[in-house]
Point group: C2
Chain length 393, copies 2
Amino acid sequence: MNQVALRFSREEYAARIAKARAAMADKGIELLLVTDPSNMAWLTGYDGWSFYVHQCVVLAPDGEPVWYGRGQDANGAKRTVFMDHENIVGYPDNYVQSTERHPMDFLAGILRERGWDRRTIGVEMDNYYFSAACLESLRRNLPNARFSDATGLVNWQRAVKSPAELEYMRRAARIVEAMHTRIFDLIEPGMPKHELVAEIYRTAVRGADGHGGDYPAIVPLVPSGVDASAPHLTWDERPFEKDEGTFFEIAGCYRRYHCPLSRTIYLGKPPQKFLDTEKAVIEGIGAALEAARPGNTCEDVEAAWRKVIARYGIEKESRCGYPIGLSYPPDWGERTMSLRPGDKSVLQENMTFHLIPAIWQDDWGLEITESFRVGPSGAEPFCNYPRKLFVKD
Amino acid sequence: MNQVALRFSREEYAARIAKARAAMADKGIELLLVTDPSNMAWLTGYDGWSFYVHQCVVLAPDGEPVWYGRGQDANGAKRTVFMDHENIVGYPDNYVQSTERHPMDFLAGILRERGWDRRTIGVEMDNYYFSAACLESLRRNLPNARFSDATGLVNWQRAVKSPAELEYMRRAARIVEAMHTRIFDLIEPGMPKHELVAEIYRTAVRGADGHGGDYPAIVPLVPSGVDASAPHLTWDERPFEKDEGTFFEIAGCYRRYHCPLSRTIYLGKPPQKFLDTEKAVIEGIGAALEAARPGNTCEDVEAAWRKVIARYGIEKESRCGYPIGLSYPPDWGERTMSLRPGDKSVLQENMTFHLIPAIWQDDWGLEITESFRVGPSGAEPFCNYPRKLFVKD
């Protein structure tokens, strides 16, 4: 048996694989190619920044999963996955970023060798790490296979968290609390933005409560003033200015498990529109958290939020939340449910979400968010950090 | 005219677009969909962490490029791209991570409106941000279009750097020098690894020489001991130990332009195998840098390196370098050329590479690397940092 320091018990990996196989059977999938690094890690423990080249986990209805990746990364797999080394398969380096041969060509040969080339093969059609060229290669090389869209198949199995996963997310929560505390301590007019971001990173990786931090799947999003009208700007070297609001959309991360939390800081006396929006958002968050109980749907949570802000004359088109947990760049969400109209997914206890009822206006923005676990009678926020617009005058 | 603080002159963007259009014409491509965030930024200035949802730049043979992305991110485009606002087009939020509709469905409608739906459309078939589902959607929605593989088409235009780009890379070089200096100052047996990584991040973002740092497209890769047999492990919370080597594969980044540089530190007295390998690698780097002159090919550079290490009885299967510059996660390479046998790409002045002749053995590893510009008579390294195995006893 492979001796590695796994992050979860072998029983937990076995349970995850059983869930994934049940979902495969439901969809008539006889072989699953898992290219999403988050899904690869969840099923096997694999952890490494190798997803910039093609790789996957191959899951058949029985036997161990097979890790497939670049030859040089097989050593990383040997250091992190639970499987026997015979189920760690590397491809030659001249397949890397080549215009003449594709790593999925080589994989097709392996699938043929194992007698898996006439199956219904599930592929993650809409994943960053399954390009159009991947599918073309598989179709060309495996003419007897049928391909079935398995986007999100494994992601859905990840929705309800285990006790061990929740513990990792709680550690991530302590980290993001420390990050926000540090931000509020340091921010002041004149401080160049990158100097503050440097401290955010330092705090994120030093960790909290005796637990070190991992890299969040999204970098700090910290726009000020008019830039805060845009949700996804990163940072620059300009100083913070008086009479400007900045939101800090950041996450703590512990062993790839995330706890995002956003807060907004206004330097100076906030204009009335900030205060009015703060009031609406906080009341809306309260209503949404209360609605986030087992049996309710995703759209119920959004409706509770929307009902409140409508009374304040605020509209928000974009979704107000998504599931969170284990993740790799470029997204810390799980890409299954969305808290928005039309999403009738039913909440279950121990699902985990980032409620992000952000308000982006034409020339300013405000984010106050909460990450939570669905508890037996409503949402239980992971963080204990003041839910308000922060003001430093 | 759109008033934004662009990172390069409008003339430079115009020249880039002209190069891309010439390449399109060469390949008979009448419309180009650019999904690689690095290519999007290079052509238009767009910068934001929004590539976790579908987006692209649409480039026709004339007129301004069109930025296409999530509605809420249109504000970020307005803050960063040179185009008029009429060429910034957002899609509704219910297309985000939906199982019922795909952002490329919506784009197809826009292409039809503009009369672009019967063209030969170039798509980046093998890019992280062009999934198999993207192509399926376009094929389904645009039955009169022909699709042509444009993987790397824009990337190739980026190979030769402008003076302004080289200046950004020099600033990134100062940053990575500062990062390595900080590492060597702080590392010692007993220091938990994440504590050192926290300082690496802090130094990277604080920057150097009066210039703040941006986030590198790859996180610090800092494996120790046996873990250093694997190229892409990140970090954990274990302390550094005496009598162990650790390599630090990191990059400085300035406004998305990268300068990677790896060094290895041994805590204690290095075993002979480290010293022998150090000698071979340094001599091999010297030979490779000398071979990296205009007119030589990528494989010439690799051959010069391989010839040296063969004399020391060392073999290395994987490529020993790749082009660098502007990049977004998950890769700081440009994904065009590779320094390896068979790559007959001809070097031109002001191409820029990361020479990474890393040695990963079964239970240890050593990385000493250089990033360089192809100068008129050979490589000119960006960094001025001792090229050696560092030892702290």
